[in-house]
């Protein structure tokens, strides 16, 4: 019920943002979170950011991800 993934905001246009999740760019709406800026990290679910996350946490997730073989299995 909960497929949401962390990514970094690379572009903002009003309530629409481009979020970079790994190497994938996902069009994301910002209606559900407060003020954010380019470079902030968010959790994306169904094309909406549902929370911000700390940079260290996002980087830790990336490391775990890479270590587990990019989640392929």
């Amino acid at each position: 019920m909960c497929l949401a993934i962390a990514g970094c905001i690379v572009e903002i246009d009003d309530l629409e943002a481009q979020v970079k999740i790994g190497d994938t760019l996902v069009a994301t709406r910002l209606d559900l979170i407060g003020e954010v800026k380019v470079g902030d990290y968010v959790l994306v679910h169904a094309g909406f950011a549902i929370n911000t996350i700390e940079k260290e946490d996002a980087e830790e997730l990336d490391e775990i991800w890479a270590e587990l073989g990019g989640g392929a299995w």
Partner: protein, 340 residues
């Protein structure tokens, strides 16, 4: 009508015989496919085949969108059939080409596709020996459907899906899931994009190198198309009556592909490829075959990803990087991006 005018669209008159059809074939189709002059068009081609055994296969192509990073429906139509022949160790020689075109398809699009087919065929050194074109009304086809049948000459050794043997090593020639992800990303309605490209490629020369290195030790070859690696290995264990254990940590997947699959809720092991094969090779020849693959442009990332055992029969197991084991199941039905 002026068929060179790029604003022209395919109309029903194109496929129903007569002068329009002739003009279309003569001026557009044949030159792109490298065919002979229109005067000599026979009802059937006669072929010279020297091999004792002939490989014969057919495949139809309905991919949407028609063009995607790394390829298009045209190159796919050639590579797909060439690869089916290659999986039996056959040298691809001739293809047939059937086009079913939806009324309204821009002629320019058709031209691009046909040129792509011609180029791919030349690159594979195969001759498009015969073909057919039909145009159907709007809505009766989705832009264009392509069928290619292929004929190849078998060599001394013919790998088989039934020949996987306990002890065999499982090899792949490179990263998995690229094609399926590239095609999904090319769908504009998803609003998700990445730089992943399709891996569509003809594998017959790679197979040639593998057979030269391993000969009869190359028991099974399977191209990993729809359903990905998971479908391929499951088909093999069922047909050969063996079991396979794969090491997840060794299976090559590009991080971009893994990431895109996570976003879409898919497994890279279940996503289509168009330039990848899986091979079952007897253990004594595995390293030699692997080296031959890595020396080939389409096998640079080749690796051994697992092993065949006698049991559990018709089962594929995946050993995870965290030390647990689970089944790798045959993918079910169509792939739907999941959310919740």
């Amino acid at each position: 009508m002026d068929i060179s005018d790029s604003s022209q669209k395919v109309a029903l008159g194109h496929g129903s015989g007569g002068a329009m059809m002739q003009q279309f074939i003569t001026e557009q189709l044949l030159p792109a496919l490298g065919g002979q002059s229109a005067e000599g068009l026979e009802d059937a081609a006669t072929l010279s085949i020297s091999a004792a055994d002939i490989a014969f296969t057919t495949d139809s192509f309905t991919v949407q969108p028609l063009f995607f990073p790394g390829g298009d429906i045209g190159s796919l139509a050639v590579h797909g059939t060439v690869n089916d022949l290659a999986m039996r160790g056959a040298t691809p020689r001739y293809l047939s080409l059937g086009l079913i075109i939806e009324e309204g398809l821009p002629l320019d699009t058709l031209r691009r596709i046909v040129q792509s087919i011609g180029q791919a065929a030349r690159d594979c050194d195969v001759i498009i020996a015969c073909g057919d074109t039909k145009v159907v009304g709007r809505g009766a086809a989705d832009a264009i459907f392509i069928n290619t049948s292929g004929i190849g000459e078998c060599g001394d050794h013919i790998p088989s899906v039934t020949a996987a043997t306990p002890g065999d090593r499982v090899l792949v020639n490179g990263t998995l899931g690229d094609h399926g992800v590239a095609v999904m990303m090319a769908r504009e309605d998803l609003q998700i994009s990445s730089a992943v490209e399709s891996d569509t490629a003809p594998l017959h020369t790679l197979v040639g190198a593998m057979l030269e290195a391993g000969g009869e030790a190359v028991h099974t070859l399977r191209d990993l198309t729809r359903g990905g690696l998971a479908a391929g290995v499951n088909e093999i264990v069922a047909a050969s009556g063996v079991g396979i254990t794969l090491e997840a940590a060794t299976i090559p997947v590009r991080p971009e592909v893994g990431g895109a699959c996570e976003v879409l809720g898919l497994s890279p092991y279940a996503v289509a490829n168009e330039g990848k094969l899986v091979a079952m090779v007897a253990p004594e020849a595995a390293e030699k075959v692997l080296a031959a693959m890595r020396a080939h442009p389409l096998g640079r990332n080749a690796c051994i990803i697992g092993e065949v055992a006698a049991e559990p029969v018709a089962t594929v197991r995946l050993h995870t990087p965290i030390g647990t084991t689970r089944i790798l199941e045959l993918p079910a039905g169509e792939l739907l991006p999941r959310i919740c």
